[in-house]
């Protein structure tokens, strides 16, 4: 069922790009706020507001932004854990937003999630054996013996001893628990994994181990990751491309090194400048933003960032900047991208 027209179009559009695995088009997700008895209007939290981007096969797409910027919601919309209110999501060029429940169940096997808190995402009353074989219970009719063999291989793959299958989650360390979560996620040989702050709850040394494990598995199994994190160094290390989110919108998408080298959106610049670098000689000037992130229930008109932007002009207050490709593989949603700034930054 190949859509010829679309494939052709894609070829013309991006001759050198690898094939697209996930394509998000104008995705919107609003959450209803509780309405007071006397208020007339229903208010919405605009968690994800008209976001479009693509994830290529085999890459790691990092998603960064402040808390409350809608990163996690976007991730959940992509894998169908939240239903998008508007917009389309394509997985391998199939529109999954148009599928009914039963059809979606088949696609769901291909998309798995690793959560932030490994102790919260594992049922405390199940042993590792049961936890890892749960995907098989849901999707296959394997015998007990087959499942045990599978669990043993999976445990080995994520670097845990087979004897751990008899443990309960509370008997494992944080890193070991996250390895169990990873084993669960890769059990069904998915193509796409959403890692939602997957290493944020772990301490730094363990973070590195888990990230390297994720990288190894990516190579071995040809996985594609959507990696959500607020630790910028982690994102820089693992991601091929990075998207920056602010108040429910993508403000910049770029290849990792280019973004970290010279961010084009003033928000990206501010966000990246707060990132501590492990080199005392490198003194960067921090861009300190004024004020708090505005409420996503009532975002500013025009460019959403204009209330805090150091270079905002009149036009920013009225006209919404679109996310446009201004360089090869770089998309920015800003009226005044920091094109000149790049030289000062790189000394």
């Amino acid at each position: 069922m190949v859509n010829l027209e679309k494939t052709a179009l894609e070829l013309i559009e991006s001759p050198r790009k690898p094939p697209v695995l996930v394509r998000v088009k104008n995705a919107k997700k609003y959450f209803k706020l509780k309405k007071g008895i006397f208020s007339k209007n229903q208010q919405y939290v605009k968690a994800v507001d008209k976001v479009s981007f693509e994830i290529f096969k085999g890459e790691t797409f990092g998603l960064v932004g402040e808390s409350g910027s809608g990163k996690s919601t976007l991730g959940r919309v992509v894998i169908g854990l939240h239903e998008a209110d508007e917009g389309e999501i394509y997985f391998e060029e199939n529109e999954i937003t148009a599928l009914n429940k039963r059809e979606f169940q088949k696609v769901r096997k291909e998309m798995q999630i690793i959560f932030q808190d490994p102790s919260g995402s594992l049922n405390p009353r199940m042993k590792v054996q049961e936890l890892i074989s749960e995907p098989f219970d849901v999707y296959t009719k394997m015998t007990k013996k087959e499942k045990e063999e599978k669990v043993a291989t999976l445990l080995e793959k994520v670097g845990l001893g087979v004897e751990k299958k008899l443990s309960y989650p509370h008997e494992l360390s944080g890193g070991q628990r996250q390895r169990v979560c990873i084993a669960r996620a890769i059990a069904l040989n998915p193509k796409f994994i959403l890692a939602d702050e997957a290493v944020s709850a772990l301490d730094v040394s363990v973070q590195a181990q888990v990230i390297n494990l994720l990288k190894d598995l990516q190579k071995e199994l040809g996985l594609t990751y959507l990696f959500i994190a607020h630790g910028l160094n982690v994102v820089r290390y693992i991601s091929d491309r990075v998207g920056v989110m602010y108040l429910g919108q993508l403000v910049e998408v770029a290849e990792t090194e280019e973004l970290f080298d010279h961010p084009l959106h003033p928000y990206s610049a501010a966000l990246l400048s707060t990132n501590p670098v492990a080199d005392p000689r490198k003194r960067k000037e921090k861009v300190v933003l004024k004020g708090e992130i505005p409420s996503p229930a009532n975002p500013p008109a025009g460019c959403r960032f204009h209330t805090r932007c150091p270079i905002a002009q009149e036009i920013c207050k009225t006209k919404v900047p679109d996310l446009v490709e201004i360089q090869e593989g770089r998309q920015v949603a800003c009226h005044f991208p920091l094109l000149t700034n790049s030289k000062e930054e790189t000394e």
Partner: protein, 299 residues
């Protein structure tokens, strides 16, 4: 946060730590003197009631007009009642019925309350609205009088008594289970299971239900006490299980005419009911603390 056993790689050590963890609820219960003595008392009284009749084989329903209202004698250690029946045998037989009614009513109470609470909590929306409003409506009716009316209408067989008690007392458990389900529904492992593609029935059964079991155990222990008390009260009013089948409740009713002449007839079933109910309440409170250490204030 992290368990001291977390870094053990040795299989045996992991096993040992699992055993330690398993025994903590039990050790906490053992430390609670009231609950633990209640448990011992309940074990003994259940042994007496259910094993006793095999040793003391006097027929509890055999009347003896020549030996009415006797005091303590060798052949009747607890005396006889107004029809010359052996009180010890009747206490054991009556205890069996009373406790079985208690267990049976508790079983149906937990079944109805658990199902209503879990379905309402998990599915939310209109299921929640219908079930929980119904629960609240049931709570607003004085359930003892509802039980009396139902028994008058539907008859007084032991099974009917069980069902009537269950249908008038499931609401408390439904509310407890409802609250717990709401809490666990938001947990990440439930979301993880949904992300995996589990069906809602599977999620409910495999992930939410096991978390609620401790609350259900506590509620059902307290529920037994309530059911015994209700059964006794209903039988005392003459609307419960009918003579000659003995229960502690109808023995009590029977005894009230002889309260001045043979007080033992009333005191024995009365004290038995009070002690068993008290013991179940102590045990229930103890279990609540033992199964959920957070209830004790600190962690």
């Amino acid at each position: 946060m992290s368990n001291p056993a977390a870094n053990n790689t040795d299989l045996n050590q992991v096993r040992v730590s699992a055993n330690i963890k398993k025994s903590t609820a039990w050790t906490r219960l053992k430390k609670n003197k009231a609950a633990f003595s209640a448990l011992i008392f309940l074990v003994l009284i259940h042994l007496l009631i259910f094993v006793g009749p095999f040793i003391w084989t006097v027929n509890p329903d055999a009347t003896n007009p020549a030996g009415m209202l006797q005091g303590i004698t060798a052949s009747h250690p607890l005396g006889t009642d107004d029809l010359g029946r052996d009180v010890l045998a009747r206490m054991m037989k009556g205890g069996q019925i009373t406790l079985l009614v208690g267990f049976g009513a508790m079983f149906f109470t937990v079944l109805i309350g658990g199902l209503v609470g879990m379905l309402a909590g998990y599915y939310g929306k209109w299921v929640d609205i219908i079930l929980m409003r119904f629960t609240e409506a049931m709570l607003s009716i004085p359930n003892f009088f509802l039980a009396l009316v139902a028994l008058t209408v539907f008859g007084k067989s032991p099974l009917m008594v069980v069902l009537v008690i269950a249908f008038t007392s499931w609401m408390e458990i439904a509310r407890v289970v409802y609250g717990e389900t709401l809490k666990w529904k938001e947990s990440e492992f439930v979301e993880a299971s949904e992300a995996l593609g589990s069906s809602s029935v599977r999620t409910l059964y495999k992930h939410i239900f096991p978390q609620i079991i401790p609350s259900i155990i506590v509620s059902s222990t307290l529920g037994i006490a309530w059911a015994i008390l209700t059964e006794s009260a209903i039988s005392y009013l003459g609307l419960g299980i009918q003579p000659p089948t003995a229960t502690w409740g109808n023995m009590l009713q029977n005894a009230q005419q002889y309260i001045w002449t043979t007080p033992m007839l009333g005191v024995l079933p009365g004290v038995a009911i009070a002690l068993v109910v008290l013991a179940y309440n102590f045990l229930g409170d103890g279990l609540r603390d033992a199964l959920d250490p957070k209830h004790r204030g600190g962690k």
